[in-house]
């Protein structure tokens, strides 16, 4: 308990107390609107204080080492990894909470009760922060469960809708499977180390035979949360139906707790065998490629963004995989580049994914639909929204000069490093992965040019009556966009932070592979691009003044009556790419071709379903349902039967526990 009450810790504790006290107004403020305003303001203050305390911690100080602080009898631990994730959570939570001011207003106008949503949102934020600082396995599991359940309760805000039922049920099932798996994981760890503290978990070399089980349990449990490819099926079901604030937070932050779990597992199991690295690498590259390919086939903007999370989790996983391989081969440079890329991409993805989700929320609220085929021309209604969304899109596609490029650049360099250090057949395999990553980049470009152009550009496919954006929308989107720009143009600071995190408990030896890269050149090149583009733009405007500029209707091959419906659609834009992996995307097209001299009205539709969901999860569910229906006779209305069952189970458990000892 020594030093518990120094200034940094006081701020840290105060932040949590204030955040939790956002729940107090529920007791005495009856008006929905007043309650939500007070609660949200208190929460925001708590978050800002929390961020300040995180920023004043050793992670952001000039010292090279991070203090590994243990508080409250070792129940709370502030180490590099924990602080970094705490920083991500708070950084994203602030804009989403600001966004709440305008977003929930929309629900209040509909006279929908939102008290329960505000409560579950607050609990969600606090419990997510607890996950990354918990050092006690039970505290970790409890926070995990609270986080999962509060997200579920928040998700069912519009519970009268059929799709909300379906999506939130997927989420609930996935959450329960995760908890089940990580319970076993932690109990095994406890069994081996006789401790409940995460800081004590080091699977010693004598107990190596349990390592594969531990690794696989962790990768399944945390992998479902993160959304790696075979386990991703719940993500595109759950994220679209949640209220926008929540889907931004789910996609930006909560799935990252899965990444946090995997990185923690690495610390427990370090040194890790090389096959773990390959498993992660292969699953990740498949997640990345098919995640973005599925995204390309979607018409629902939020579902599309959810699939993009699968892609980005894949990219993070690729970084982790490189780190594992580096760790197995004891190459510090590789560890630093792999984990560094993964951590920075985690931060980056949290930023641009919440930016895009919040942006999509503004649009779908105004238009009353999430179907992008009904959108268009929004740039003429809200220019700055289009600019912010464009920044997020360029960033998520990994294109310079924004932050997505920086982390992908590190991961590419990791591959180069691996090829250089591990000769033999490694260059060939690494190059295959590089090409895979480049392919993902190309697909992301196709996907984000698609949604940007269909949503914002051209003319309105469906008439927009009025488009309302509030100052809160712009503040939250602006903060996130600025972060995208800052990390892109001046990555040096953030690289330093990431490097420090990796320095504390990830690498076998120091390496300057990450920090020593030529970050200044990137800054200079990007600044030069920006500067020359601005100058050239003004020169262009000047030349146009001299030789004239006017606007005229789009050229229609001589046809005059062009309607908005004649524009290129999202499905036709993506069609050529979607028909390639038709079976995997479960991509269906229904085309009616018009015939005869007086053709009737024709129709076209295309849609894609999830392969894992349709071919694996649903059949499995049907199979289980069939088996369970066999024992349906046990389901009685009389409560005494159930008490009897409970007694039998407890007896069985008791006998097993007795024999075990």
């Amino acid at each position: 308990m020594n030093g518990l009450l120094n200034s940094g810790n006081v701020l840290f504790i105060a932040a949590f107390v204030i955040q939790l006290s956002a729940l107090i107004p529920v007791a005495f403020i009856r008006s929905e609107r007043k309650f939500f305003l007070t609660s949200n303001i208190i929460l925001l203050i708590g978050l800002v204080i929390g961020l300040i305390s995180t920023l004043s911690s050793s992670l952001f100080s000039s010292s090279q080492l991070i203090n590994d602080t243990l508080l409250f009898d070792n129940w709370i631990r502030l180490d590099g990894l924990g602080l970094f994730f705490l920083f991500i959570i708070q950084l994203v939570a602030i804009p989403t909470t600001i966004f709440n001011f305008s977003y929930l207003q929309h629900y209040i106008d509909q006279e929908r009760p939102i008290k329960s949503f505000v409560i579950s949102y607050t609990v969600l934020l606090v419990s997510t922060q607890f996950i990354v600082i918990a050092n006690q396995a039970i505290l970790f599991l409890v926070s995990w469960e609270v986080m999962s359940m509060s997200a579920y309760l928040g998700m069912i805000l519009e519970r009268e809708k059929e799709e909300v039922h379906k999506g939130s049920f997927y989420y609930l099932v996935a959450s329960h499977v995760i908890v089940f798996v990580i319970y076993i994981f932690f109990f095994l760890l406890h069994h081996q180390t006789n401790s409940w503290f995460l800081s004590d978990y080091h699977v010693s070399l004598t107990l190596r035979n349990t390592l594969p089980i531990l690794f696989i349990l962790s990768f399944i449990g945390f992998g479902i949360k993160a959304g790696f490819m075979p386990f991703h099926f719940w993500l595109p079901q759950a994220h679209p139906i949640a209220p926008t604030v929540l889907s931004a937070f789910l996609s930006g932050v909560i799935i990252k707790t899965g990444i946090y779990g995997i990185l923690r597992t690495f610390q427990f199991l370090n040194p890790i065998p090389e096959w773990c690295g390959w498993v992660v690498l292969v699953i990740s590259i498949l997640s990345a490629i098919f995640g973005v390919w599925y995204a390309l086939a979607q018409h629902d903007i939020k579902r599309l963004l959810a699939y993009h999370s699968v892609e980005n989790i894949g990219i993070i996983g690729i970084g982790i995989g490189i780190g594992f391989i580096g760790s197995a081969n004891k190459i510090p440079a590789l560890e630093v580049l792999g984990f560094g890329g993964a951590l920075l991409h985690t931060l980056n993805h949290a930023i641009f994914k919440s930016l895009l989700f919040l942006g999509s929320g503004v649009i779908s609220n105004n238009l009353g639909t999430r179907n992008i085929e009904l959108m268009g021309g929004i740039v003429h209604r809200a220019k700055y929204l289009a600019i912010f969304f464009l920044i997020g899109s360029v960033a998520i596609s990994g294109i310079p000069p924004f932050n997505g490029f920086v982390s992908e650049f590190i991961i590419y360099n990791g591959f180069f490093q691996a090829a250089k250090e591990l000769k033999n057949y490694y260059p060939f395999i690494m190059l295959i992965f590089v090409v895979g990553l480049a392919f993902v980049g190309g697909l992301a470009v196709a996907c984000f040019t698609k949604i940007n152009s269909i949503i914002f550009l051209g003319t309105e496919r469906k008439e927009i009556k009025h488009f309302h954006t509030s100052v809160y929308d712009y503040i939250s989107l602006g903060i996130l966009s600025l972060l995208c720009i800052a990390i892109g143009f001046y990555p040096r600071i953030f690289i330093g932070i990431v490097n420090k995190v990796i320095g504390s408990g990830f690498v076998s030896a120091d390496s300057s592979a990450l920090i020593g890269m030529n970050w200044l050149s990137l800054t200079l090149i990007f600044s030069a691009i920006l500067l020359s583009a601005v100058v050239l733009y003004f020169v262009k405007v000047k030349i146009q003044k001299k030789y004239g500029r006017r606007t005229s209707a789009t050229w229609g091959c001589g046809y005059e009556n062009i309607t908005p419906r004649m524009q290129y659609t999202a499905s036709s834009f993506a069609d050529e790419l979607n028909i390639i992996p038709k079976t995997i995307l479960v991509y269906h097209k229904k085309v009616e071709i018009s015939k005869g001299a007086f053709p009737k009205q024709t129709a076209f539709e295309s849609h894609s379903q999830d392969f894992v969901d349709n071919k694996i999860v649903l059949p499995l569910y049907g199979f289980l349902k069939k088996i369970i229906s066999k024992i349906e006779f046990l389901s009685q209305t009389d409560i005494r039967y159930y008490i009897g069952f409970i007694l039998i189970i407890i007896t069985v458990y008791g006998i097993i526990a007795f024999l075990w000892k």
Binding site: G377, V379, I387, L390, G398, I399, P400, P401, F409, Y412, N413, F416, K420, Y425, P427, F428, M430, L431, V434, V435, A438, F439, G441, G442, V445, A446, T449, K450, N452, S453, F456, L457, G458, M517, N518, L522, I525, I529, S532, A533, L536, Y537, K540, I543, Q544, Y547, G548, R549, R550, T551, S552, A553, T554, W555, Y568, S572, F573, D575, E576, L577
Partner: protein, 307 residues
């Protein structure tokens, strides 16, 4: 140090200055091969001058994207050009990992150009944009299987160093490099919208890829698009020619001669290919690109296992 910067600037100016000439050369050679007199090699310069002085007409529905797109296109292509060596002169931008920046900075140009095409709200442009996005996707792997595989073999990640590291002392390595240069040629054809992938001279919007995307532009906007198109063509030509620098034995003069002669031979090859082939059907283009990728994979695989 100063001399290197000077050389870099000169290289950039060479690329910016002579890229229209290269395009003019291809057109002239093509004309000669098909038995026409053809436009003078300086024609692209006249075209640019004419466009520069024309009035700009923007589509009514277009937004800020159409205004900034030509500018960003030009700047990014010019920045990509500063990463390439002329002879053995060190380019202005050269650092470890610039091969990735090179690929991605051209990606920025593509991203904004696709958006600008969709900005017009016409289905012609939309079609071109969709095709550009599709074919670019398949072209990306070829780049990494050509220049990238040389990089992975040598363990270097800067374009200048990669070319500098090529040494022709081992027969299997020579074969490897020659095949790399062949797939680089296939890549150049795709990226610069030449035949047999795209036909820059077609007169029907439905059959175009790149040209249709800039259909509704005029004046200075079109000037910038055309100019960046010429530069891009020259960039890919240089990527191809640079494979032959090892023959120069690292003397500047021979290097420059290889550059000049190489450009001419490449122009002749492109003109010949365009004379004797016709454009592929759209649906066959991915096959062509995958074929080029397969060459790259096989090449690297064979080299890795025969080493």
């Amino acid at each position: 140090m100063e001399i290197e910067i000077l050389q870099g600037i000169i290289s950039l100016l060479i690329i910016l200055g002579f890229s229209p000439l290269f395009a003019g050369l291809i057109n002239k050679l093509k004309a000669v091969l098909t038995g026409r007199i053809g436009a003078p090699v300086w024609q692209p310069y006249y075209d640019l001058k004419r466009l520069f002085k024309k009035e700009t007409i923007n589509a009514t529905v277009s937004s800020f994207v159409s205004r900034i797109s030509p500018v960003i296109n030009f700047v990014t292509v010019a920045v990509a050009a500063t990463m390439l060596p002329i002879g053995f002169w060190k380019p202005l931008i050269s650092f470890n990992g610039d091969i990735i920046l090179f690929a991605y900075i051209l990606g920025l140009a593509r991203f904004i150009q696709i958006l600008a095409a969709m900005d017009i709200g016409s289905s012609f442009e939309g079609m071109g944009a969709a095709r550009e996005a599709t074919f670019a996707l398949f072209a990306e792997p070829i780049f990494f299987f050509t220049l990238g595989s040389v990089a992975f073999i040598s363990g270097l990640s800067s374009i200048y160093d990669i070319y500098y590291s090529i040494q022709l002392n081992n027969i299997s390595y020579i074969v490897f490099i020659v095949i790399c240069s062949i797939s680089a040629f296939l890549l150049a054809v795709t990226e610069c919208s030449r035949m047999p992938v795209d036909d820059p001279n077609t007169h029907l919007e439905l059959t175009m890829i790149h040209e249709v995307m800039i259909l509704d532009n005029s004046g200075i906007d079109l000037f910038l698009y055309q100019y960046s198109g010429y530069i891009k063509l020259f960039i890919y030509a240089i990527l191809e020619i640079s494979f032959f620098y090892p023959f120069s034995a690292q003397s500047y003069l021979v290097g420059v001669m290889i550059f000049v002669i190489g450009s001419f031979i490449l122009a002749l090859t492109l003109a010949t290919v365009e004379t004797i082939t016709s454009r592929f059907k759209m649906k066959n283009i991915p096959q062509y690109l995958l074929f080029a990728t397969a060459i790259g994979i096989l090449n690297l695989l064979i080299y890795t296992f025969t080493k």
